[in-house]
Symmetry: D2
Subunit: 294 residues, 4 copies
């Protein structure tokens, strides 16, 4: 009955996420760039979308002994590799600590789970604030010592409230947002501020049952399996690029409230996996689909 | 590495499927009827739909020593129990051998699987004929020594061909039909001849991706899980009561043809489970949903 | 994106769990007893172990209008039914609130999950105390306002410490115990105080990898799926009756610490399902196996 | 309801499987070798075992326009890359058609499935012969027009029969062997002839329930999930490197024969996935574990 949680002891590493038109020599050029500068590759994943002829790559290497200082890597990579191949790329470092805002409404299960995990899984992330349209979950925030801000939203005041939320997010230097069962639809203007940086958990197996009350719809349709879907938020409701999904079996014995109970377990775990992938810089988005290098 | 397939040695039993408005005393009355006639209950399942206040029951008992002869059970049950409670009911016997027709088009995986299983699982069923709109799978039918009838279907001749098919089905005394990836939509008139007795396998996780080319749609939407759905055919395309579903994980690495390959494994197993439930008289249909007493 | 957690509005009900040698008339007798006393059956499950010829039943009925007062039901059932059939039975009421003690060591994930759930799922249970062999998780207990007692355990003092723990448990009138990754093996004497009332989560797919460090063993063996198992504790280590299991896929990419991370998600959900079944009186134990009427 | 099976149109490609001590520059060197010879990489996977410091790689590239003729690639790769890094490697070509022998006993489900698939999935493989210790499945072989050889095995004649089997396998130029529920344990001498080229399906979730009658053992232990495991055969019974596993849920309602029925569906699909990975050259074996580049 014994086992202790081990941590990979990780030295500082660089993570490069690339996509560009497919062409011969891409992997060779990128890996040669790392090798000749004395970098040790920890992991490398690549993918070619054969239909669209697009190349995707994620490569992570140790910075110890790397010939180029961290702050110059981007510049040198652009000049010596990216320009040649017309690459879109992002560079991250393993010791960055993104700042996350959590949006909630009245349901606490995802909030509890994220806050618990951020502690016991020692996430490389800080959660400086929680935003809600209801006061209900303030006690949960208090338990974990996190600021809780209430912005009641109506049709009339939505734009105004979102502006205040955005100001608050900027003030706290927020990198990305987790909608942990936040029941408001965000405006396109709001979303445009955080492209591919707002993660939502939807309580159905999308594209089945988008919109409101999916468990009720699942019950009505008589499905034998229900699901949960985590995706980046885009201007189209529940139609953004899917990061992760999972499912659980149900039967005629499950009333709507049983589906809700079973589904909440899914929501928690699917959301946390997606946030993990995002934090570990494992997600590329292209053409409303994700490449997740698990 | 050894294990032999065992058979439950089963004596003859009766299976009663019931639904009616919920009321006190239902289980007591049915089980008392069996008990006082000296029947030994092998299995009993009941379910109450709390929203609609409908009661469902499946009960199976051994006929050995049962006081009422098999051919009189229905009559006596109607008079002494069913009338009182306003029950809808069906009575089956475990030694019935339903006659099944399989409809196919060009894809052989489900056909191979059904024909193999009908042999090695010793299904209580006979497959006297296969019907197709294409000649392609005739060699498979020949391998298993089953008659194969080709009815090419066009918009113009669909009604006429269906009438011929119906004549053939009646001639062969067919009890129910399995659409094993049959690519034609059946007319309402055809379907009306076999209510809740036409089983279709749809190659998606319904209600996601109904209609044609679901694997292509799943690819486009970027889902992380694909599924297959088995349902009774009704007048609404891909909207009949769902009997069974299952899913498999996919990723960005899976091209459409990989989804097809993975999905075919699902289709086989989901279809065979649904046919098994149907054969074992485990399925009740109510309000476009199924109660499957697994 | 909206859905509110609904509660089944439940009036008070009685739950009867029965097992006895199989015989004709069992279901009829029990349901007749309920019916003639004007009880409305909410759910009924029965199972016959065909090999051992043992009958199992769980039946739940509404007490409103029931002719026998709650405190007399047991007595009357014993006299009029149980004696006749030689039944073992337990009677519960839906409004009982069992008192649960949680045992932990240093890992907080299961503890966080149980405490969160006991609140947001509105469990019919009270958690008056947490017992540990280490002080590490006291802050978690404090967050939820629950007493935390530390009993450091060594080979030398184990018996003595267990006696103190037992005294504490009795003082708090504890009904059952949840070992939420408690790293000590309990003595047979301790276990004997709570037969089928100590629930343990083991971090492997038992009977694979019993004992210590199962994730390491799973890694060494190169399995492609890992699991978690919840069982009642018996005198044999990791060999008690299994209540629930679940699994997750792993690959060569998963180091031991990845298995730990993935496995912890399993442990949480498997443990909570098992506790749910136990709380809902859905579990019968016979011959070191469980019948779980889900 | 329509979808046609699509084939990736594949030109001829080379597949290189490598492992060696981990070192800087490995990916760069291999990909540079391919690039400078004008090869277009179709897919590339690598993995580093951080504990053992071993590097694994699978790379596939199109041979069209490749500067080195197919028959010289190995030689040049050895001289220019493999020698430097101390690599173990294997080179395959996508248009090879391995020759497979299937061993069976009395159970037909895996045999039916493999033979069906080898046709409808258009496997790049030939099955020139089936070997059995019983005559029972000859009719299945006949259905598919494949030679069936019976070698009854006793303790006394096992060595002699295996020698005859080996002679037959060599005569037919067999590349690898599939044990499709073959109930005999092969001798070490036999196994030594086909290292990592004998694929067995075991009907349990190994390492749980090795050896005979695993479904009976699973029933006795009261597990809630059963599994199937495909592995390469080694001298240790049921202990070879695992290629693939899968599971299915069971309950107290499932008698041993229900587990057998559910398990057979697993066995079919797990075996076929493993054979698929093997055929596609996606499996590397190291230290009794597999790296499967799915």
């Amino acid at each position: 009955m014994s086992d202790t949680r081990e941590e990979k002891s990780e030295s500082r590493s660089a993570i490069l996420l690339i996509h560009c038109p497919d062409k011969k020599g891409l992997v060779a050029s990128v890996t040669e760039f790392i090798y000749k500068n004395n970098g040790n590759i920890i992991s490398l994943d690549e993918h070619v979308d054969a239909r669209k002829q697009v190349f995707f790559m994620r490569v992570e290497w140790e910075l110890m002994d790397f010939a180029i200082p961290a702050e110059k890597i981007g510049e040198e990579f652009q000049a010596s590799i990216a320009d040649t191949f017309g690459m879109d790329w992002r560079l991250h470092f393993s010791d960055e600590t993104p700042r996350v805002a959590i949006f909630v409404s009245k349901l606490p299960h995802c909030l509890y789970d994220i806050l618990s995990r951020s502690q016991y899984e020692k996430w490389n992330a800080e959660v400086p604030l929680i935003i809600s349209n209801h006061p209900d979950l303030e006690p949960v925030a208090e338990r974990f010592g996190i600021d809780y801000h209430v912005f009641p939203v109506t049709k009339a005041n939505k734009q105004e409230q979102e502006e205040k939320q955005l100001a608050l997010l900027k003030e706290h230097d927020i990198d990305f947002i987790v909608l942990a069962r936040y029941m408001q639809v965000l405006t396109d203007e709001f979303v445009a501020n955080y492209p591919n940086r707002i993660i939502n958990i939807h309580h159905s197996f999308l594209p089945a049952f988008p919109g409101a009350k999916p468990y009720h719809s699942a019950y009505e349709r008589g499905v034998k399996i229900i699901g949960a879907t985590c995706h980046y938020v885009t201007a189209d409701l529940d139609a953004g690029p899917i990061i992760e999904q999972d499912v659980v079996r149900v039967s005629h014995q499950d009333a709507v409230e049983d589906m809700v109970r079973k589904g909440q377990d899914l929501e928690k775990v699917v959301l946390s996996r997606a946030v993990w992938y995002h934090l570990k810089r494992k997600v590329l988005v292209y053409d409303n689909r994700t490449i997740v290098f698990t």
